[in-house]
């Protein structure tokens, strides 16, 4: 590889990757090692820790989508709605038609993305609070749709007792063995793989030309369009990718919980997906992961407070916004920058 090849990459790399002490690849590797080796080694037998980690991984996977819609300057509260769509696609295909979960997983994302594209095309013309509100309506509409059409969704009864993911084989070669009842590690590794893939793709997207276009949409749509950029197309692409993430995440949870109800994903979930992005820091690809990690782990740690758990948790959240209004990572970045300045001087 000649040096010229690397120039364009650095041209669009996120500003912080240069300032951060860890290069993105190293950071990714670190996260992967911590997840795939560190957690099982330390907590392999502890179903609770594995479950929290698994949930955290996929919740941050879904939040990446919200992060991407933030990148184009839209506040997206529809994510729970599309996760619900993903859950139902998998649940219906698996329970009615016996389709393999491994096929359903990407398919759920695809269906969510297509529906997202159809809804997104007109809706994405809205900005600011109007977009936030309309996406909140979409989440509610998804729940009510699931309730109102029992012929397809079994309505209020939910779809229960979904089988665990079966074997995935290609030409007789077993790639993934069937999940066994009660085994937590398969779901844990699946969640980790999704997280890593999701993070990797987000990073690729963000550091590519497309990522730069997305950021330009947030900063000034008029200027972007004056340069011949088809902003409507890029907006829909960003939204569809976001919905894809939601759909895949929803499908995962349907399999993990072995059921889906209209209440499986609600407005409050949409809110939390958004919160994770903020708490981590909107400028950073890894922000949703950091946000979800900090928030979910602190909620669990506050359990000892019993009935004061939620009030202290939300109090801490407010404090967190007060002290770090631009997210945890922005504080770390500023500190790293100061340290660098000091060492340079």
């Amino acid at each position: 590889m000649n040096t010229q090849d690397t120039i364009p990459m650095s041209g669009f790399a996120m500003p912080q990757s240069a300032a951060s002490p860890l290069k993105p690849l190293g950071l990714g590797l670190l996260v992967a090692i911590a997840y795939f080796i560190g957690v099982p080694l330390l907590f392999g037998g502890n179903g609770y820790v594995l479950n929290v980690t698994t949930t955290m991984a996929v919740v941050s996977f879904i939040s990446f989508g919200v992060w991407l819609t933030f990148a184009i300057g839209r506040i997206n509260l529809a994510q729970a709605g599309f996760a619900l769509i993903g859950s139902y696609v998998t649940a219906i295909l698996v329970s009615r038609f016996g389709v393999s979960f491994w096929l359903c997983l990407p398919l759920s994302g695809l269906v969510a993305a297509i529906i997202g594209g159809l809804i997104g095309w007109p809706v994405l013309r809205l900005k600011g609070v109007y977009f936030a509100m309309i996406t909140l309506c979409i989440t509610e509409a998804c729940r009510l749709t699931a309730l109102s059409f029992p012929a397809v969704t079994r309505g209020a009864q939910g779809i229960v007792d979904l089988p665990l993911p079966g074997e995935l084989s290609l030409f007789g070669l077993t790639l993934i063995p069937a999940f066994e009842k009660g085994a937590r590690l398969p779901f844990f590794y699946l969640a980790g793989s999704l997280l890593m893939l999701g993070l990797w793709f987000m990073w690729l997207l963000d550091t590519s030309r497309v990522g730069a276009v997305f950021r330009s949409l947030r900063q000034n749509e008029d200027l972007a369009v004056s340069l011949g950029i088809n902003i409507a197309k890029y907006r829909v692409v960003a939204f569809m990718v976001s919905c894809f993430y939601a759909g895949v995440g929803g499908a995962f949870f349907a399999a993990l919980q072995q059921n889906v109800y209209p209440t499986s994903f609600q407005v409050i979930d949409s809110v939390y997906f958004m919160v994770y992005c903020f708490v981590g820091g909107l400028e950073f690809v890894i922000g949703p992961l950091v946000g979800a990690l900090v928030m979910m782990v602190s909620f669990e740690l506050l359990h000892e407070l019993q009935r004061y758990q939620t009030v202290i948790f939300s109090g801490l959240m407010i404090l967190c916004i007060l002290l770090m209004p631009n997210g945890i990572l922005s504080v770390l970045k500023a500190r790293a920058a100061r340290a660098k300045e000091a060492s340079d001087a």
Partner: protein
């Protein structure tokens, strides 16, 4: 190159642009002037398709481009700049200029994300082009500066640089000299000539009469949305209608 005929825009009951007709030859420097609120900026928005005219047509290189949408117009080769300091605030100068090249990238969406060979070629070309543009505007030393940290004059240049990066045939400059001091204006005038020499035809909407008179080869004067005069700077300075139109406003503006 550009033919505007019978262009009219009505907002509610108000006619902002009325039956405006003019043509532009490749390589000439044309300015549109007029008192405040005369409809100059609306005219730009109509040409660049940020607004759809009530009636009339805009033809570019013989093609009808009326109301085809701003990004489509840009792809045909007409790029506009903005009044004030419109920029991508959180991007560095070089990032913004690289983005200007976007419409000429040949790689597919997936290719761009996954870094296909075509995307890499695009990026290399974009990089080379960006360097040329920055060099042309004398901004190479600011390539790594965030737009939000640029001084006023350079921010204006950045706007032009981004537009140039989109490789237009025709560039619409919306008040390129507003808020600049006389030194900066002088450099701006030179810059516009340089742009023209690169083979890009500029049109200006401007208030700064001295600058307009020195840079323009032809001037169109509008008032209350209609064209009241057209000619060389010398002709315009002598035109009674123009003087009358400007009497209501500040005299010094016409630079007599």
């Amino acid at each position: 190159m550009l033919e505007v005929s019978g262009l009219t825009k009505v907002f509610g009951g108000l006619t902002a642009v009325k039956d405006l007709t003019f043509t532009l030859q490749r390589g000439e420097i044309l300015s549109i002037i007029g008192p405040n609120g005369a409809g100059k900026s609306t005219c730009f928005k109509l040409i660049s398709s940020f607004m759809v005219p009530t009636s009339g047509t805009v033809r570019f290189n013989g093609q009808d481009i009326t109301g085809i949408g701003p990004h489509a117009v840009a792809r045909k080769g007409i790029v506009r700049t903005f009044q004030e300091n419109t920029a991508f605030q959180d991007m560095t100068v070089r990032e913004a200029v690289l983005l200007g090249y976007q419409k000429d990238c040949k790689a597919s969406l997936a290719g761009m994300i996954l870094r296909s060979p075509q995307a890499r070629r695009d990026d290399r070309e974009a990089g080379a082009h960006a360097d040329r543009v920055l060099d042309l505007l004398g901004m190479s030393s600011h390539a790594g500066t965030l737009a939000a940290g640029l001084p006023h004059g350079l921010l204006r240049n950045l706007g032009i640089a981004v537009a140039l990066a989109a490789r237009p045939q025709l560039i619409l400059l919306d008040e390129p000299f507003a808020g600049l001091n006389s030194d900066e204006t002088k450099r701006g005038v030179e810059l516009i000539r340089k742009i023209r020499d690169e083979g890009i035809t500029p049109i200006l909407v401007e208030h700064d009469m001295a600058a307009v008179m020195s840079v323009s080869e032809r001037i169109v004067v509008v008032n209350f949305g209609s064209k009241i005069a057209e000619g060389t700077p010398a002709e315009i300075q002598r035109n009674d209608k123009v003087i009358e139109a400007y009497l209501g406003s500040e005299d010094e503006e016409i630079g007599l």
